[in-house]
Symmetry: C2
Subunit: 250 residues, 2 copies
């Protein structure tokens, strides 16, 4: 990658949150604001930011079906602006949300849901205990890595009520057809990382987030990770390269 | 900008053309494919690629009005996929197009317009002579710099028939409100460049184009550049930060 020649630094910050807030200010209309994620090989993924704000916008079906199974006290991990929380609240469930992006948490609160700023790897005990953990919008990716995922899943058990389940959606990296993903995964495997451990950062205009790890994994890999962490994979429904998975306490 | 850590290089290529072709393959529908431009300070601009393919998609009014004044033999400079050429052809005008992106030229030809691969700074004599030169979609930006713009405008005179005019649209960088643009412009000015000389490259997925200069300039700056190159600025219509300008042979 060529160097930046003008000597102006990118602005470090919550680029994803800034994109969502800008889209909200623009009336949450499609075609106004884009959320960009950049992998550390330069691969860009662009999404209309409205997809993170509206309940029904181009998400796969499994992302709408997954929260329907939520019961009891619920926590939406990586809740974003709360698009999945509002319908759960309307069903009368008690729903908490956490997200690591200050901008999205502020927006979620403004939109009327109970969201807190927290990283999934450091959940505050004050959250209490839950019957349902949600990892929607591909948020199994928040597991980050084999080691990080193991830690997160084991920690969630501390917050789990008897009979609790974890319902979420994931991307299976082996189902992606672009050869660049295969090449990236092979380099990961060669270095002892999981095939789908993508190093990413968010970008918006001249703002850039810190790097973070997003974990894409197959149902088989998820099964292994769950088993080693006190969970059992009880159900998988695939839809293209994405799938919905339910984990139950072992 | 942090370095890319996985050692996978970005793929050098016609990223803009690749985005337009992907959007065309996806049925030229909005929300499927995005064209990303990155300035050399890291500032990203994202547009739905469909805006470069459809005749009526979120362009300012002046971009539709500008070609209505075209007469005689016409050349569309930076024609892209030819979205402005088809309506001119339907009006019975003889229209040639040139573009520096092989992917868009191939697409333009497939869509039924007479486009050739050429850089505006090196137009082939075989193009012949013209009554109307078009620089639509903000293509006054293709002038690139003070020196490059002077050369281009002087060269066009060689291809100009008596009474020829140049009609185009431009972005006035002094009208952009983001402080990052002001800061970038000030650095340009300090280095002797024009305020709105933006160093850009196109990105699409893991593909990146060469860097190129895009020139944003005020009507006053365009007037100066025109006068020094044998043209006279005869008309300006502003619309937000963009404006339509007509140049006539002096």
């Amino acid at each position: 990658m060529k160097s930046i020649t003008k000597g102006l630094p990118l602005v470090a910050g919550d680029a994803f949150g800034a994109a969502l807030q800008a889209c909200h200010r623009a009336g949450s209309r499609a075609g106004t604001t884009y959320a960009v994620f950049e992998r550390d090989d330069g691969m860009l993924t662009v999404n209309d930011a409205v997809m993170y704000l509206s309940e029904h916008h181009s998400w796969p079906d499994i992302d709408y079906r997954a929260p329907l199974a939520a019961t009891g006290r619920v926590v939406d991990l990586g809740c974003g602006a709360g698009r999945h929380m509002l319908p759960l609240q309307q069903r009368g469930l008690e729903v908490r949300g956490i997200d690591a992006s200050p901008g999205t948490v502020a927006l979620a609160r403004a939109l009327g849901v109970d969201a807190d700023l927290a990283d999934i790897s450091a959940l505050p005990d004050e959250l209490g205990t839950f019957d349902t953990f949600l990892l929607l919008g591909g948020n199994f990716g928040l597991l980050g890595s084999r080691e990080g995922g193991h830690r997160v899943l084991a920690t969630l058990i501390r917050l789990a009520r008897p009979g609790a389940c974890l319902i979420g959606t994931a991307v299976n990296p082996y189902q992606l057809t672009d050869p660049a993903h295969q090449q990236y995964g092979d380099i990961n495997t060669g270095a002892g990382r999981m095939f789908g451990q993508y190093r990413m950062r968010a970008r918006y205009r001249n703002m850039v987030s810190d790097w973070f790890d997003q974990l894409l994994l197959s149902p088989e890999e998820l099964n292994e990770l769950a088993l080693s962490s006190g969970w059992t994979l009880s159900n998988v429904e695939e839809e293209g390269p994405m799938y919905m998975a339910t984990l139950r306490l072992t």
